[in-house]
Symmetry: C2
Subunit: 339 residues, 2 copies
């Protein structure tokens, strides 16, 4: 049997360990795209200190490419393109990033990324391709080409439903990918209801993660200042309402569980960490995509709307800081009439 | 005729120039309370570089005290207590700060401070005293005891209506204070409708100042990111609605005027400057007091409410930074049930 051809895009802490798991299994030929550390990694590989795979002083996958174009130019038809980049469609659209490596009707896209309704732009662009979902619970970081994995690689795999393909085929495709990726070191399993799971995550991410990013306090201080109860909990009720309108019933005590999930920690959620580091936040996939669905289902979400529109200003500044937006030195005078 | 006894509390850039204007006029005996620079100022006075009064290398008022208690202990009955501190009732209540120097039924309080409905706690505590309002348009800063006044001292004086006193008496008292303070260098005038004027200022301060403080962008970037139109303009409509319910008609084009007031500048409003400096923000007097009135008048203000509750978290962190709030090193585990 020929090995499956897998191209992984995004070799941060998560992506590198996913690639590691695929290579360890020996069922796939694993290629990766490395942007910033290409030269170093091409020559010396990664140093990986992993709680799952031990100390790998110079780990390399089968092929290393500096760009997706370079990976496409070698003429391989990829069976899977696994995306483990941050998902920032307002900076660069992931379905465009992956495009050169995707063969229509052939390549399965696997999105191991944070966020909600991530499959929609891929299915719109590649209606004949499978699009899988991976929700990762790993703890792993890339510090300049040195990977430090401190929490076990646990990943729940499912599919973003593509109405052009049969459900059974899609489920089978998810299980085929699990077969490539799952091994005796990691915990990769099939989770049937991706929609339920991603709504469940939003109860935290769309409400606490966003409010902390905006106000720059951890979840503990958010509670002490009263903002948790005045803002985040009403926002959680809105997430639950959208889910319900979308046919997803979340557990009755979900709010209590979510609020208590950081008990005992002054915990800084991922968006706050990004804001503090000056990195663009995953605003569109964590909150923007939810609001698109809310509008389609005609559910009102005033608290989430306001969090979103306020975070647009935060995101503007983060993008400007990264040179992604250029603001002229002199502010021009607008003639617009505001009312 | 005896000179009026005036005690001024708060010798920042604004307060020092107000004191300067009173001294210049020679109609009052002017005492001031100086907290941080007391020793230096008591000995050497202030160096003032003023666009109104010129260069004063070692300016001193008639009396300098280190505390309000010290000013009260000398046995003088103050005709006026002028407050030019920042107004931060969630840190320290100004009506308590001034208390030792206030003689019931005698001392007129003059609040030359930012914010809305500032008279309420003074009138509640001192129902037989006059409470005047000063809205200052000066540009002046205190850099470690050196005062740099770059914009003309223009001040509009009126009264916060005290229902226990006659309107004519209150107007007369405002004009009496103007007579002490107004001189040939400054522009101090009577403005009949303090409520109108302070609502008018809120159209900017409760909406743009707050949103910029929260998102940490200037008003120009707030417009470019879309947050101005999505958040601040709806908030302006809410201010106008509260004003209307309170009997105050703002001009039809007020929103357009307010939005264009920073045209051509990447302008950072005062609350954003405070956030960047790590200073507590005037959240309660700029936004909290407005929401109290909105609740009394049963006007819904969902956008302003959310801005307020989010800024409570910002304020929490600012107060913690100044040692005004103590957060334990270990976060305790709450047993509260959230729903």
């Amino acid at each position: 049997m020929n090995k499956a051809n897998v191209l992984l895009i995004g070799t941060g802490g998560v992506g590198t360990i996913v690639a590691c798991g695929l290579v360890y299994n020996k069922k796939a030929s694993v290629s990766v795209v490395v942007r910033s550390d290409y030269k170093k990694v091409k020559e010396h590989g990664w140093e990986i200190q992993s709680c799952d795979y031990g100390h790998l002083p110079a780990w390399k996958p089968d092929h290393i490419f500096p760009t997706v174009d370079a990976a496409a130019e070698v003429g391989v038809v990829y069976d899977y393109v696994v995306m483990t980049t941050k998902n920032l469609p307002d900076v660069v659209k992931p379905e465009d990033v992956a495009a050169p490596a995707i063969t229509v009707g052939k390549t399965t896209v696997v999105l191991i990324q944070n966020g909600f309704d991530l499959g929609r732009p891929f299915i719109a662009k590649y209606p004949q391709n499978f699009c899988l979902s991976g929700v990762s619970h790993i703890g792993s970081h890339n510090h300049g080409g040195v990977i430090s994995q401190t929490q076990h690689d646990k990943c729940l795999v499912s599919y973003f439903e593509n109405p052009n393909l049969g459900k059974e085929e899609q489920e089978a495709k998810a299980k085929e990918f699990i077969d490539l990726y799952s091994n005796d070191k990691n915990s990769v399993s099939y989770f049937p209801d991706v929609k339920w799971y991603r709504y469940r995550k939003l109860v935290y991410n769309a409400t606490l993660n966003t409010a902390c990013a905006l106000t720059r306090v951890d979840t503990g201080r958010l509670a002490l200042s009263g903002t948790l109860e005045a803002v985040s909990i009403p926002a959680m009720h809105e997430v639950i309402k959208v889910a319900k309108a979308d046919g997803v019933e979340l557990p009755e005590d979900v709010i209590n569980t979510v609020v208590h999930s950081d008990d005992g920690d002054w915990f800084k959620p991922s968006m706050l960490v990004d804001v503090e580091k000056g990195n663009p936040i995953e605003l569109e996939v964590i909150l923007g995509n939810l609001l698109v669905v809310a509008r389609e289902l005609k559910v009102e979400t005033p608290t989430l709307d306001l969090l979103y529109h306020l975070l647009k200003a935060t995101q503007f500044k983060l993008k400007e800081g990264k040179g992604l937006i250029d603001v002229p030195k002199e502010r021009s005078i607008s003639s617009k009439f505001y009312s």
